[in-house]
Amino acid sequence: MDSVFSQLCVLGSSLVLIFGLILLWRRGVTAYVTAFKWQSIVLSAVTGIVAYYGDDHELYWVAGALVVLKVLVIPRLLRRMQRRFAAERELEPYVNTATSLVIAGLLVLFGYAITRPLVALSQLPTRAGMPLAMGLVLVSLFVVISRKKALTQVVGFLMLENGIALLAVLGTYGIPLIVELGVFLDVLMGFLVMQIFIYQIHETFESIDVEQLNRLRH
């Protein structure tokens, strides 16, 4: 029983990480939004699986909130933005695609290295997926640093949050419910504010290329 649980969690975590890699491979924002949506679906599924096998009913609520927030609400808002800025594709990122992917692989290895004490310490059957969650965190950080479009950076940030949520679910079967709800609220608020700013950037600069944001130096 436990090993099926374990395998499912690792499978889910791998899928979550692979959806994160899509941000480095594809160029269109449509692909990014779809990848984020599917990543959130898999994340909710993993949360549901942990709730089922771990006998923790609070996690069902968390999974539900994840679905509502990150599968329904945020992708819808992202699609609206993407329809507005559809012409902007990530054509010349700071680091090119092939190199980015290799760096992502190395970052995942690094994630494995730093989570070794965690995996060694934990007794939970879900511990094998934690390095993958950490890998997603590092890869998302890399996405934000190396991409030029504001929308890509926002999706990268959202995936970073997904990675940390996955780490919390796998490591501790979730954090206390009230804190979790507060976190969701914060993420939603943060995303809404970012959305406002992207519209403002577009109005002021006629493009969402953050390379244009270079007036303030030194």
């Binding site: 791998s14 995942v108 290895l109 993958l132």
Partner: protein, 313 residues
């Protein structure tokens, strides 16, 4: 003794079936495109025709040009001795493992690239450089993908990997295996020159890689190279089928199990050929500068597979 005979029989079977597999893929593609298409054994007629034709060699070509077809063919046939096609364990398992297989395949590619450069034609040089770009990313991925399996099996010996997976069927669904399968599938497409990396039916300068290297060949040399390419496709299909889904691979060397092995092998070929045909029909060829991106994705998948297997040992 029986083992050695079986090895030879296995290699002969591979040689015999290879053009059929290529024909099967072509036939399925044709059917998917609503054409009648050539029959499945058309490649056999083509090989027979080529063996009877005259060989024309460029004046600028050296000994390398004449030697390459034999090297390529020999390396492909040698690999069939080491790959678990019908049964494990086999006597040559002690000599050949994962790394030997990879290097033999690379030997063939290397000589083919040199032969592309040898006659001094522009198409050949272009094909050689493109092929090297693809091989530079595909070969490490191939090694890594199979290495992911080797980690859980505890040995890089291909026969042992198959035996291990057969004894522990649950591990076939582990993330390491699935990721390695994905990575290996993409490498198969790259190494055998299939869409979306290379179009095996084109001779347009813009799109050809493998065809560009063999453009100067004719007659029996071309026949040997085409046959070797078909054997390579069969080898990769065998790897994909037998390493990941070793259903039906014969452990004892009895006629009954061998018969089952042949039948299951054919079944796997049909499935894989269908997959390749469907993929080739649905996906357009990638622009050349996008090919390294796809191969990097497969490299990262293979890397993830290795780390997955390593952690879940």
């Amino acid at each position: 003794m029986i083992g050695y005979a079986l090895e030879v029989a296995q290699a002969a079977l591979a040689l015999f079936l290879a053009p059929g597999v290529v024909g099967l893929v072509r036939w399925m593609k044709a059917r998917l495109q609503n054409r009648r298409g050539a029959p499945v054994w058309q490649p056999y007629w083509e090989l027979a025709k080529l063996f009877q034709k005259e060989v024309v060699v460029s004046n600028n070509a050296s000994w390398l040009f004449r030697a390459t077809p034999f090297v390529v063919f020999a390396s492909a046939v040698t690999v069939t001795f080491f790959v678990p096609i019908l049964a494990v364990p086999l006597p040559f398992d002690g000599v050949g493992d994962l790394l030997v297989v990879v290097y033999l395949l690379l030997l063939g590619t290397f000589f083919l690239s040199l032969a592309g450069l040898d006659p001094g034609s522009p198409f050949g040089g272009m094909g050689a450089s493109r092929e090297m770009t693809v091989a530079a990313l595909a070969e490490p991925t191939l090694a890594l993908a199979i290495f992911a399996l080797a980690l859980s099996a505890g040995s890089t010996n291909l026969g042992q990997i198959v035996a291990r997976t057969m004894s522990d069927p649950g591990s076939a669904l582990s993330p390491g295996h699935l990721l390695a399968f994905l990575a290996l599938f993409i490498v198969t497409l790259a190494e055998t020159g299939r869409l979306p990396i290379d179009n095996p039916a084109t001779h347009l300068e813009l799109t050809m890689i493998h065809e560009a290297m063999v453009l100067e060949y004719s007659g029996r040399y071309l026949a040997l190279i085409e046959w070797a390419a078909a054997v390579k496709l069969l080898i990769f299909f065998s790897l994909l089928g037998n390493l990941f889904v070793p259903v039906g691979v014969s452990m004892a060397l009895t006629p009954a199990t061998l018969a089952i092995a042949v039948v299951s092998l054919l079944a796997k070929f049909v499935v894989l050929a269908a997959a390749v045909a469907i993929l080739e029909t649905r996906i357009a060829k990638l622009r050349l500068f996008r090919v390294p991106e796809l191969l990097s994705v497969s490299f990262v998948l293979a890397l993830l597979a290795v780390t997955s297997s390593f952690l879940l040992r």
